[in-house]
Amino acid sequence: MPEFQRFSYDVLVIGAGGAGLRAAIEASAHGARVGVVCKSVLGKAHTVMAEGGIAAALSNVDDRDSWRVHFSDTMRGGQYLNNWRMAELHAKEAPECVRELEAWGALFDRTPDGRILQRNFGGHRYPRLAHVGDRTGLEMIRTLQDHGIHTGMEVHMECTVLRLLLDEGRIAGACGFDRAKGRFYLWEAKAVVLATGGTGRVYKVTSNSGENTGDGLALAYSAGAELLDMEFVQFHPTGMVWPISVRGILVTEGVRGEGGVLRNSEGRRFMFDDIPDLYKEQTADNEEEGWRYTQGDKSARRPPELLTRDHVARCIRREVKAGRGSPHGGVYLDIAWIKKRLPKAEEHIKRKLPSMYHQFKQLADLDITKEPMEVGPTTHYMMGGVRVDGDSQMSTVPGLFAAGEAAAGLHGANRLGGNSLSDLLVFGRRAGRYAADFASSHAAAKIDEGELQAAAAASLAVFDRGPAGENPYQVQYDLQEAMQDLVGIVRMENEMQHALDELGKLRQRAERAGVAGNREYNNGWQTAIDAGNLLLVAEAITRAALLRQESRGAQFREDFPAKDAEWGKYNIIISRGADGGMRVEKRAITPLPSELKAVIEEMK
């Protein structure tokens, strides 16, 4: 029987991205003893990759902005499936959270009068994103990390959580192992915050880090929590497409915010050809006006390149399918053209988009100040996740909280760029506070030793099968390939049925997976564990996408291409059924209270 190293906390935070660190800081501030567990090294979580900025209605650049506008923008982007309470709290609390970061040392770009500068982003009516060049995520994670290490939290880095432990339905802690040595750990806790991030690795072409395998969703589901909005996967319109080995790496929306334009192989700005009615009022109908908008002209409307991500991604796909794509299956994104408008455009581009300049130079031998980039859609963000209470972030399992990309609700059917980093801060903070409260009002739970041993044994079975078993890396590739082909940007009933069959076969293969070597830093072992989580998430995405017979936000059904007002009244909930199978159900959305309805009307 494997030995367990034992630790005991009031609050255990799983994940050290923006959401996890913010939750840990807050829980500590409320007097809780806090442990943090993360799969990667501290400061290397996926949050580090965020580029464009943090959305918050600070109104530094345009004083017409306010929480009411931000709230309405978020609801419109989410096609009104959002948890409106979360959208309200998010819009109200984001500015304070950004200022808090500044007080902890973050250094944002400035306005001429020395305040935090804000930039334009798709779906946001006014310039709203506080940013640091195009490395805002790094600034956020480093600020939280450097502040957090002095607040008393204990960090267990490079540890993988395998299972959440329950005591009569209430959370009791978690168990897992450290990747370096493969030793098993038990973290007892009165409350647990899941901040495990997204699920981008379910797909082959993705902008997400290797660790984004949806663990938190699988952990919560297995513990009996409900998942919400799993059909809504955001495909970002602009990822790199060439060279093949870097396919998927993100090209920030900031490029379009700074005046970059999309063209097809015929040189046409195709985004002008298809502007959805919902956005006609706010979108420029000529190139001149679009350009003025990107240069800060408040009377101009935004160019169609800055429409919501789902729409831009589908337009790009359409151009490529129609044979008007670039040589490697994308379209052109051109920022170099601005030299016709701006003196010293080259320096301007390098200063505003340093990481992009660097990325293309180094990985594709391309100078973006001189040539257009080739871009195409890439899997980017999971709107779905653990269903939580809007105020406290507690899931349907008592004592189990979730925040950040692992939680669902704020973004509805589609997330606006910049609304994730603010989500991490606002709801990381709330989850930390409510988890600390929960811990202080509950006694320690009991650990089921049998459960603990079962979790360890299950994870070790791959070693018994050894190298003769299925290759876990291959299982993962095949899963990503299947999801990319069958449950991607454009979805069809028959393809998704086929995907379910494939997932069934893949599950059998995953159950036969074998791993060579020992437990010390064994990537094969980790991959086998990830595969189980990915399979669960993939199934949830597919089942939810099948049930929603309409197109809305990030979900586009070729067999149901229209939006259906009836479906606008429901979310889809996934949970584990009594028979152990996956349960999928429609659940009616609580209607908006009249004050919030009035805010939306006013902003229309």
Binding site: K44, H46, L107, R115, A180, Q362, N523
Partner: protein, 245 residues
């Protein structure tokens, strides 16, 4: 393209190890980390490698490639000579965990010994601060650091002289510089720099600056100004007089 190349990868653990050859298919545009992943998936499933973003942003995949400290995910095969085996080794300055993975936890412990950010009270009417872009930019260079620890790996004070207990190394000097030059910071780290973190051990060889994947001018912009502050405080006779008074 579709040719083959050989990678000579260090396999081992704290007890020791050997360089082992793996031959795999390579294609246009591939980076070293792609090749390592191919080898892992097809030939050596338990090959230990640390990575996360695969985009040069997280600083996880540091290694020594043909003897040069670099990020595996940002080193293109087209910039290496593939007619000879490409040698991939873990960083030498840190203890081995397994294969290409090293124990970098010392950096985190050392960072904790540096006094944290301490802002002056907010002084703008809205309860925040006004900061000019020019003042922000000077420090933003240091804040680009992705904590890949490649500079720590190459610094002879750590690598050869093993002064981990006395010297915080270039990464953490950059961190200290970011704090010291932060427009809002009021903390004083000069005494620690001289007595605890021993900035004086650095003899400006610039090796660290040359390997930094973020092109941070570590020596000229961070270390030398810090050294000057130490000198001003402790060795300038006039200032010393004032300090004692």
């Amino acid at each position: 393209m579709g040719t083959e190349a050989t990678f000579r990868i260090w396999r081992g653990d704290p007890a020791g190890g050997v360089l082992q050859d793996y031959t795999t298919q390579v294609e246009e545009g591939m980076v070293v980390l792609d090749a390592v992943h191919h080898i892992q998936a097809q030939q050596a499933p338990d090959l230990a490698v640390r990575w996360n973003c695969k985009a040069g942003k997280c600083g996880s995949c540091s290694a020594e490639i043909n003897g040069v400290p670099r990020l595996m995910c940002m080193t293109r095969l087209s910039n290496l000579n593939l007619n000879a085996p490409v040698i991939i080794e873990p960083m030498h300055t840190f203890p081995s965990i397994r294969d290409l993975v090293t124990d970098v936890s010392w950096n985190f412990r050392a960072k904790k010994t540096i006094k944290p950010f301490k802002p002056r009270p907010a002084d703008a009417p809205d309860g925040t601060w006004r900061i000019q872009q020019a003042d922000v930019e000077r420090v933003q260079e240091f804040r680009k650091c992705i904590e890949c620890f490649l500079c720590q790996d190459v610094c002879h004070v750590l690598r050869e002289h093993r002064k981990h207990d006395e010297f915080i190394g270039p990464r953490l000097l950059v961190y200290t510089a970011a704090l010291e030059m932060h427009p809002l910071d009021t903390e004083d780290r000069i005494s620690d720099l001289r007595h605890v973190h021993n900035a004086g051990y650095c003899n400006i060889t610039t090796c660290c600056r040359q390997v930094c994947p973020e092109s941070i001018t570590i020596t000229e912009n961070a270390i030398i100004p810090l050294k000057e502050r130490v000198v001003d405080r402790y060795f300038d006779p006039m200032k010393r007089l004032f300090h004692i008074l």
